[in-house]
Symmetry: D2
Subunit: 142 residues, 4 copies
Amino acid sequence: MTALLMDRADLVAFLDRDFPEVSGDFAVERVEEAGITLRLKVDARHLRPGGTVSGPSIFALADVAMYLAILTRIGPLALTVTTNAALDFLRKPAAGCDLLAETRLLKLGRSLAVGDVLIYSEGMAKPVARAGLTYSIPPRRG
Amino acid sequence: MTALLMDRADLVAFLDRDFPEVSGDFAVERVEEAGITLRLKVDARHLRPGGTVSGPSIFALADVAMYLAILTRIGPLALTVTTNAALDFLRKPAAGCDLLAETRLLKLGRSLAVGDVLIYSEGMAKPVARAGLTYSIPPRRG
Amino acid sequence: MTALLMDRADLVAFLDRDFPEVSGDFAVERVEEAGITLRLKVDARHLRPGGTVSGPSIFALADVAMYLAILTRIGPLALTVTTNAALDFLRKPAAGCDLLAETRLLKLGRSLAVGDVLIYSEGMAKPVARAGLTYSIPPRRG
Amino acid sequence: MTALLMDRADLVAFLDRDFPEVSGDFAVERVEEAGITLRLKVDARHLRPGGTVSGPSIFALADVAMYLAILTRIGPLALTVTTNAALDFLRKPAAGCDLLAETRLLKLGRSLAVGDVLIYSEGMAKPVARAGLTYSIPPRRG
């Protein structure tokens, strides 16, 4: 059985220390081996005209969520970088709602990790976006 | 509740009639509202040196699977066309095994359908590939 | 010969009116039939630790650039929305440099437009990122 | 100046030896540092009903073209594998025409190579498809 190398409190501390510019935007809701749930605390600065959440904010949520999900498995290796992202924007997010990202790790190799993320307006059944993400991970000590 | 407009037998008949060049490669294993399972009957013509299934064969499996999954919801509209495909090749397929594709429909709009597919070597727990696919669907009568 | 329906001044005015939250981030550098050049005026809020430009800022630049390039061909249809984005992050952006996005329109259909964008640190020969983007465009008169 | 490690004759010999199943489908038309041109000799087995070239055949052309373009820069390292492919299908290929793929290498790193490909029906000005491709390349001797 795979042990998690970082739990919820570890992820929060990591975000606060290494990504102070954005850590206030996010709340780590759930951390399990199967994946994590990350909340975007939607605020005026994430919105576009009409009250919809901006594309870059959705991308940021997907990317941070998958990044943290990978760190739960490899530890706090901040040199892990995103190499590829594919996003489908499916529906307009509901106005006045936070967004929730649910991660799924598909591959954790020696040098590449791949996963996908579904993003929901809180309380809605159908996703507003899907993202597939690839990360290059630095060499780890055996 | 959404009714399926095509069942397993309908999909098989559709493939035989509209895609006779490739229908022999595939077997429809499961058809449910949540998605379908499609088998690629792996044969010498799908292989690359070393016995691995070729990338184009994996793409074909993902594309046909998602296409059929959409048809179960909109009926046999052969003018539906693939507009975008994003594939992650995760692991080398197991030698001498069929591949199974599991579909997930994420959006069925008036003019666009979006879904993703996980592909497994039969009997293996971890996917060999993931595909996200978008289709343009022709106008339907109300 | 295709006439441009919006020139540089039109794009600037459109951004200021319809996207006031972000228009200050960008400068329209060049508008031609072959494509446009858009500058991201890199500022502290676009940076991540180490001085690198954040992924969401790069995504925003690519998306706004391609969106404006499409508007030069169809006019100011603000209901045009991004449906798909695929990004490759190629190199770390140079510190202290603006980013420039160069667009290329690959298809302008009745309901879908597709293009790609290369993003450079100003003065550098090799791109820092590439994006492929698809937009759903609303029905047009005439 | 970067020297090419494989020329046109080398690529043809490599395809014949390492990919005999498909080498007859392709002709190497042009090999330059900026990229290569690869022809798909379109035949009945590449077609779908209505005479259009199949999606898997277009994917195969893009993938083989970019793969060969990378080999011109790193030599015949057959362990190089495709990890990600993003395809946009833009227009229906012209009936009875070969397809030509034009490659563009965007990054050649130590472990990853990224490029994109435009695919044309021979003699047509507008592309039928675009592909972005990423490859994992095995460690090279210094």
